[in-house]
Symmetry: C2
Subunit: 671 residues, 2 copies
Amino acid sequence: MDIEALRTANPEHWMKATAIRTLTLDAVAAANSGHSGMPMGMADVATVLFEKHLKFDAKNPDWFDRDRFILSAGHGSMLMYSLLYLTGYEDMTLEQVKNFRQWGAITAGHPEYGHAKGIETTTGPLGQGISNAVGFAMAEASLRGRYGKKIVDHYTYVIAGDGCLMEGVSQEAIALAGRQELGKLIVLWDNNNITIDGTVDLTDRTNQVARFKASGWHVIEIDGHDPAQIDDAISKAKVTKKPSMIACKTHIALGHAAQDTSKGHGALTNADQLAAAKALYGWNFGPFEIPADVKAQWEAIGTRGQAERAAWEARFAEASASRQAEFTRMMTGEAPKKLSATIKALKKQISEDAPKVATRKASEMALEVINPIAPETIGGSADLTGSNNTKTGDLGVFSPEDRKGRYVYYGIREHGMAAAMNGMALHGGVRPYGGTFLCFADYARGSMRLSALMGVPVTYVMTHDSIGLGEDGPTHQPVEHLAYCRATPNTYLIRPADAVETAEAWEIALSSKSTPTVMALSRQNLPTVRTEHKLKNLTAQGGYVLAEAEGKRQAIIMATGSEVEIAMEAKKLLEAEGIGTRVVSMPCMELFDAQDEAYRKRVLPAGPVRVAVEAAVRQPWDKYLLGERGRENKAAFVGMEGFGASAPAETLYEKFGITAANVAQKVKDLL
Amino acid sequence: MDIEALRTANPEHWMKATAIRTLTLDAVAAANSGHSGMPMGMADVATVLFEKHLKFDAKNPDWFDRDRFILSAGHGSMLMYSLLYLTGYEDMTLEQVKNFRQWGAITAGHPEYGHAKGIETTTGPLGQGISNAVGFAMAEASLRGRYGKKIVDHYTYVIAGDGCLMEGVSQEAIALAGRQELGKLIVLWDNNNITIDGTVDLTDRTNQVARFKASGWHVIEIDGHDPAQIDDAISKAKVTKKPSMIACKTHIALGHAAQDTSKGHGALTNADQLAAAKALYGWNFGPFEIPADVKAQWEAIGTRGQAERAAWEARFAEASASRQAEFTRMMTGEAPKKLSATIKALKKQISEDAPKVATRKASEMALEVINPIAPETIGGSADLTGSNNTKTGDLGVFSPEDRKGRYVYYGIREHGMAAAMNGMALHGGVRPYGGTFLCFADYARGSMRLSALMGVPVTYVMTHDSIGLGEDGPTHQPVEHLAYCRATPNTYLIRPADAVETAEAWEIALSSKSTPTVMALSRQNLPTVRTEHKLKNLTAQGGYVLAEAEGKRQAIIMATGSEVEIAMEAKKLLEAEGIGTRVVSMPCMELFDAQDEAYRKRVLPAGPVRVAVEAAVRQPWDKYLLGERGRENKAAFVGMEGFGASAPAETLYEKFGITAANVAQKVKDLL
């Protein structure tokens, strides 16, 4: 690469872009770790994007109708931090840049949502950012369709690397984006032909241009170091009705000794090589030093969007007060005002009617009353709409023809769905929920973990939550999934026992501001166990006394979901023999553990023997079975020890011993 | 669709194919559940494949050089069961077909590996079969490259549906197959334009032909109900050097009232509609009845490969005795004879040298001595070769140019790698291991669960196994992953403390016949704690006394991996204060739990307080902390309660309180 030619062709651009390169080199050298090559290669693209196209206001970074910029190749985080610092984001000080990858700094190894303004999503696990971006663009299209261009009308830009495109989730995302004709989604592919193990063609010879076109994208190929080509390509991408992919041919670690090699990825900390690169750049400044004129040019870029922001605020102010209020509520993630009353009314009705329904059906019953009062909800399913019961009558279908529709057919793309939901929630103004079978949480794990890590309140509607799904067999029967959702920090795993608890679960999910909810719902019908109406949301306490012992309390049976019915049956058997038995419903361990100790001890007092019953592995239950005074010889578990099998559900419960008789016998064995 | 035309065009073919259709309809009606439409749509393709191309011998289903047939669209399991019954597989009796989806039957809802001969892999979770198939084809190519065409030379056929192609993992698989030029892989796509939620174009308008071509595949489009076109397409696919995708335009639920609709997927149990379909087919027979001439034609197909099998056996017998012995050992999955002695020698050397190395490096040290004596190993990494330390000097690189190479550059495709490894292990003759960061087990979960469910002994080399990876931050730092591997049935999660335990872990992994191993390995250097050489594989006991209390035993500290060093430091601090402390290394809970009770009580006797230390969540430890006599007030845990952070590793351990001082303090607090 002829650096001299680049320098002289457009000196002002060169200096701006090279400020990114040198900040990256200096920060990585200071941290003695980090990825240098990608920011150095994509500095030109990012510079043109920020200078000429990205709609943003560095001093008002949360302005709702800003363009979104997502660094899917999150390892190149110094590209992001450099841009934020240079354009004048107030929290991104030079001190923060100097503390790259250090404890307490907002400049983490990979961009972490919530650390710094301007980081729209957490990236680093490859393929996530580009897939989140599809959700951003869908949220934008949905809100634009419903609230008009005056309020919502912006682009979503993504920088993605080879790794992002190799990860399978990206195929799910690009196919979905193509189908949905997300014309305001623009992906800038860092086509540098280098991965960690070597050149890309060591592992991949996919023609990415053809692949994107096959999924309905507009594709342009450019020299990623030529500002005019970059500018022109983005201009064209903005006007096409298709999502756009701009293949930017670049040189990783441009101008460094490691240029165009897989070594160019990593920590370029050699002082001599660093100095040589700076000399080649014509950059005669100290570490972290940006000449005043270059910084001034960058800061001017940071203020470029002020007028647009002000104009948007003026337009927003023109909307009716009620519309402003609704939109503001949705933007800030507040639950609908009517939610609490709506849920209470539904609970009262259910307690009176005492229907025997699957909790997946109960979830639909809740959504039928929620969706009309919650315009922020956007439902969907990964091709299991009729099984997940996620589509209610009034939603309409989100499509290029109807952006007002609020139901998304995601296709058979659990990972892509989860990533898109993260993107929608991060965009704001909408609150996504989406369904699949609980077992296929496995496919979505990569994004579900990020929901928890970022603290975005998406709702996973996971039906067919145990061997109770029956004949489909062990590939479809979760046994370890409840455990792993509970092991994941900042995740509500709620497994409601009946339609009342399901309604309560939805109230929790829709009121959550920073925790995702995974609902584990049954395929099979379950009786209403909460036949006495209570205004209070008992599920929000995580666990509670569902039925008190009639005689002297000798046993406590804990259960969740479909096994609460079994616990209640076991209680009957035991009480008939004079064994006073309390039943504790434990729909959400995380919420129970968050209660104060006094409450927890009231629900699970020392003394009685304890048996837990759940059609899953024991691991998460040990703390309740063995803790406090519940010693090994005072506690037992009835559940699964291995994988399930294919047979009708009732047969499976019988064969795996998850029965009331077995639970009652365990209690008697312990007494 | 003009059924009459199909019937008359080729009556003999029609009757054979329709035997599949009617068995499917009858079995689904009997079970009152199951997927009918796919077998009805793909019956013609399957019939031609089995009749004219598939190399198999129904009476000798395990013959090593048979072609492999994989039903990636596993919900259409009745297609498989029909074919196996009709061609005369001895275990697939009519009784089994009649017991479709019932307890104890080999005819599970989805094809389960190990249930019936001819089921080469468990399918049902979409996208897995096609991705396994890439592994099958790689194993075949590898063995063919090394042992010659006389011993190994067969095709891998796949029937895949729209769902398989939408799942992201399929993109990883097809790109890998294209890059590796797996010419003997032939995918038959059931292009019926129907998913559960509606027509495919509701969610996807990807041009699959263009997409496969973009990844280097040979593609043919045909009418999937025309036997001549099917035959011709397969013939062409067999001779191309590229992997082949045959797009078979079909009608789901052909001839049924639900034909060409999403209802055609599901349980077509309506008796009138079933009768109408049979009438349209010209099928005048009772339920499960196959006319004798049709059955005879099918059974002839089942014997078609007998001569080929016999010829193969004759060729195999010509090989040298040592070659036969080696190949037979590899086929049956026996560990190399020299393995035990090799590991012992390595352990002795390590105990003497006492190196301070990361366990990922220790893993490489083990592989350096294992790979030369274990020709069955095929290593690889998802683009983290240098970080996972998976490539040893002698392996060579597997590629179209060098099929003798035993190292696979999988690219940034964790899920595709895991699925391919399952396929290789199922093919037999090879034993795959592959690496990524432990955190990215999330991406591979779908296939890792299937390793466990199928019981295939693949090895996952998961490095960077905690906050100890440092600056990359929380997206790369597993905290819940150890818990979920342990929660998954039939999975060895081994987290070795030093190079000796790592060597022992490899012996376990390579000796395993029906359990996958997940190795959790450190990025950071760890001292050798096993400085006293023992012949016995202590890791195989799961947990053991690493260091006994010097004074009166008042405390037991349990730890794994990188935290064993911390436990040993804490012991020192405590012993200095006269508190006798035992340290238990617990590299594999599953193996420890499998020991007899007497052993477990010897290692973890009642009495002393217990503290566990692991840089991960507590969930899996409760059983040891709270069980036996270890009550809440006698036990504590030092580990992670939430996600990690970006900073140098030492800082993170300090900030999260995972230190020897803290462990020692916990012990003192409890005493």
